[in-house]
């Protein structure tokens, strides 16, 4: 069956450009998460959606980061005026139920590697 997919897999941006990263979760999954994985680090939580509602955006590093999931399925993470420190792998994950229950496994996509020059 189809897993979580992300596009593009690789993105190179010049400093100051805007980028949009797409995530297609597993069909029917209620919860969707975005993580940022810097080089040599573990994934760090950015934001969480339950269906179309963004219930937690506490991990977004600045107001240049914006995420949406308007119809409760596909999600887009947008970064405005990219900076070099935004270079990282951005991972998307989805789970069947709501995240309040740790019993739900998060399934991860392959990630988008963003390089800001």
């Amino acid at each position: 069956g189809a897993g979580v997919s992300q596009s593009p897999r690789y993105k190179v941006a010049k400093r100051g450009q805007d980028v949009a990263l797409r995530c297609d979760p597993i069909s029917g999954h209620v919860s969707l998460f975005w993580y940022q994985q810097a080089l040599g680090q573990g994934p760090e939580f950015l934001t969480y959606f339950q269906n179309e509602a963004q219930l937690d955006k506490s991990g977004l590093p600045s107001d240049r980061f914006f995420a949406e999931r308007p119809e409760g399925s596909v999600s887009t993470l947008k970064i405005q005026r990219t900076q070099q420190e935004d270079s990282a792998v951005y991972l998307c994950a989805s789970s069947l139920g709501d995240w309040g229950r740790g019993t739900d496994t998060q399934y991860f996509g392959p990630g988008t590697r963003l390089t800001v020059l």
């Binding site: 979580v4 680090q41 573990g42 994934p43 995240w99 740790g102």
Partner: protein, 112 residues
């Protein structure tokens, strides 16, 4: 705040040898613990998870982990590793309704 410590950033081991990857978490009322594996240029794949019940958890690919509440540890073990186990391993901790927090990862290299 939750935290996860993976004590070894790199672990080299010979093929067919046993391996243990160490993980300690910060204590919380509810504890859900996970081990994920990440192969190069891929996302994270769940190896195993502890939610409740038996402290010894068995996962895929012959891995197992033991939850130790008194030591706040969740070490990952495999009795005999293969070349194909070469990857990066991440320990994760979710306390109740809190977000999933990962350690910095341990790179396991299995040498012939």
């Amino acid at each position: 705040a939750q935290s996860v410590t993976q004590l070894d950033s790199q672990v080299p081991v010979f093929e067919e040898a046993p391996v243990e990857l160490r993980c300690n978490y910060s204590s919380s009322v509810s504890v859900y613990l996970f081990w994920y594996v990440q192969y190069p240029n891929q996302g994270l794949q769940l190896l195993l998870k502890y939610l409740s019940g038996s402290t010894l958890v068995k996962g895929i690919n012959g891995f197992e982990a033991e939850f130790n509440k008194s030591q706040t540890s969740f070490h990952l073990r495999k009795p005999s590793v293969h070349i194909s186990d070469t990857a990066e391993y991440f320990c994760g901790h979710q306390g109740g309704s809190e977000k999933l927090v990962f350690g910095k990862g341990t790179k396991l290299t299995v040498n012939p």
